[in-house]
């Protein structure tokens, strides 16, 4: 019988623990009580100190620092060993690109089942019931996993980042990789940055997104002006990304970023389920569309019907005026 919920903690883009992993740690903590389990973490060496401060009962650390580049085999081998040692009831990942790359590899290695992109999770005894969008967000499915460990990747914001207890130490186990385990296969030849200068979508409180109806890259200039005024990040539906009007890093939706900001302003976006399933949890949704029957209005709190090329400049002008009078 397993004793642990094992959480994989990954390195974020600032060298510290990825916030998404911390959220999963927090969630595991909540689940562990009713499941009568303890939380174990598996982490690369360089972030183990920080992970320890976030309350797991024990940490399994890799034998060396994480290699830089693309080394999924190394990670999968490390996690396979950590899982062998902990015999967890479940292994939880954040649904990040790395989590999505590792979870299926680990599931196959351990001969067990997998549910990715969980939007909700609850425990029934030692079983986890996992809810996720299927058919591009047209339906919500709840799955249970019949084999252990149950392997799950979780969307962001399901758990709360646990408070740090500075200086807290915890039992640490060094994992040895099996002979030849994790030998890297892929050589990193080059990395090309296609960063957009805007505020990060995942961290923004307010997001202004544009769709195909913006008509071209010029349309996004207007959006950026609005975004600058209200401190928002700029996002997009898929067509503008596919057409190169804006980098793909800004795509919102089931295959882009899944976000839940305080405010989401959708401009000239029709509201396809694949898009809604990436932003439907926003606190307030504002829709601007020339088609009064556009699906997006069904999910919106505020709506304006009309041509965005006229609505946006008027919005900007009015906001500037209000701002100058503050």
């Amino acid at each position: 019988m397993g004793k642990y919920l094992l959480v994989f903690c990954e390195i974020g883009d600032r060298g510290a623990v990825a916030p998404a992993s911390l959220e999963v740690l927090g969630l595991a903590r909540e689940l562990s009580g009713p499941m009568k389990l303890e939380v174990a973490a598996a982490a690369p060496r360089e972030i183990s100190g920080e992970v320890a401060e976030c309350g797991p009962s024990c940490i399994y650390i890799a034998p060396s620092s994480a290699p830089t580049g693309y080394f999924p085999e190394w990670y999968a081998s490390f996690l396979g060993e950590a899982a062998r040692l902990t015999e967890p009831e479940a292994v939880l990942f954040a649904h990040t690109p790395l989590g999505q790359d590792l979870a299926p590899r680990l599931a196959q290695k351990l001969g067990t089942g997998l549910v990715t992109d969980a939007a909700g999770i609850r425990a029934e005894g030692k079983k986890l019931l996992v809810t996720k969008a299927v058919y591009g967000g047209v339906a919500l499915a709840t799955y249970s996993l019949n084999s252990t460990p149950q392997i799950i990747t979780l969307r962001s914001r399901l758990g709360k980042i646990p408070p740090k207890e500075p200086g807290r130490s915890t039992e640490t186990v060094e994992v040895k990789l099996p002979e030849g385990g994790g030998k890297p296969h892929w050589e990193l030849v080059n990395r090309i940055e296609e960063k957009s200068a805007e505020i990060k979508l995942e961290e923004a409180q307010v997001v202004v997104s544009g769709g195909r109806g913006l008509g071209g890259p010029e349309g996004f200039e207007l959006l950026r002006e609005l975004a600058g005024l209200i401190g928002a990040a700029v996002g997009a539906s898929r067509p503008p990304c596919d057409s190169g009007w804006i980098p793909s890093s800004q795509q919102v939706g089931i295959t882009g970023k899944v976000i839940s900001p305080q405010v989401y302003i959708a401009v000239a976006i029709s509201g396809a389920s694949q898009h809604l399933s990436g932003m439907g949890d926003a606190k307030k949704i504002v829709a601007i569309n020339k088609d009064p029957d556009a699906n997006i209005f069904k999910t919106a709190d505020y709506g304006a019907v009309g041509d965005c090329r006229q609505i946006l400049p008027a919005m900007i002008e009015t906001l500037e005026k209000i701002k100058s009078e503050l």
């Binding site: 549910v115 058919y135 996993l145 990395r191 601007i288």
Partner: protein
């Protein structure tokens, strides 16, 4: 004379994901979904994978390109599109008796891949119906070959593979050797349209129909993922529509309303 390079593309049949949401009916009692009038298509990511494979074949005449699909009931006409755009042969594995989850599917595809033979396997990054993204990487593990995910471009030089892989802020260019499996992301681009001549030609290309009995599959694992509930997402909100005499007035009204209601805070 150079050796043939065998490329295998995994194509899954799914209900057209671009169909309007209203054409999907969710039956909570039976935990099933029906898609009234929605035609089956090849999963869009698998179409992107096919496109990359066809480009590899164009760049390298020694490529033999096979497509493989597994399903309870497959629509031949839909999957034959793979032949019309350039695949040399198509394998259809049909078996209505297995209710496959991702891991079972990966086992079946692994058995098929072993029987067909491969140097490079391409899969989609995820299926539009399951939205899972597990089968490709699990298949690589079962075949014990290295895998790279989320490719948007692939180049082949002899047995050397160069893959452009999508990462959140750009791309990574990776090099490795065959055999390997690559999962393909939509940034690879859409599949070309088959022309009428090639559609006709497709009918003369070999299509192999297999059942599980044709595969040396051993024992399939049990189902590890069980559907316990299926429902429609609750997304309906009450929308306050801002009216105005002109679009400009509407825009001004919307700004004022959002500030008034505290939705937008201009002080910070």
């Amino acid at each position: 004379m150079s050796e043939t390079i065998r490329i295998l593309v995994c194509i899954k049949q799914v209900p057209d994901p671009e169909a309007p949401a209203s054409s999907f009916r969710i039956h909570s009692e039976t935990k099933t979904i029906t898609a009234e009038g929605v035609p089956p298509v090849i999963n869009p990511y698998d179409e992107s994978a096919l496109e990359l494979a066809v480009r590899l074949k164009e760049a390298n005449p020694d490529v033999r390109l096979s497509a493989v699909a597994f399903g309870a009931k497959l629509a031949r006409a839909v999957l034959m599109k793979s032949l019309a755009v350039g695949a040399d042969e198509l394998y259809l594995i049909e078996d209505p008796s297995v209710e496959a989850d991702g891991m079972i599917t990966a086992h079946i595809l692994a058995a098929a891949a072993r029987k067909i033979g491969f140097d490079l396997i391409l899969a989609g990054r995820q299926a539009a119906d399951t939205n899972a993204g597990g089968v490709g990487l699990a298949l690589a593990g079962l075949l014990d070959i290295p895998a790279v995910s989320w490719a948007r471009k692939i180049e082949l030089e002899e047995k050397l593979l160069r893959v452009e892989r999508v990462v959140p802020e750009g791309c990574e260019i990776l090099a490795g050797t065959l055999p390997a499996l690559v999962t393909v992301s939509h940034e690879a681009g859409a599949l070309r349209m088959p022309n009428i001549i090639n559609v006709r030609k497709a009918k003369t290309k070999p299509t192999h129909s297999w059942t599980l009995a044709d595969l040396e599959i051993g024992k399939l694992p049990g189902r590890s993922v069980e559907l316990t509930r299926l429902e429609a997402p609750k997304r309906e909100r009450h929308c306050q529509v801002i009216e105005g005499e002109s679009p400009a007035e509407t825009g001004a009204g919307l700004s004022r309303k959002l500030v008034q209601d505290g939705v937008l805070n201009l002080r910070s």
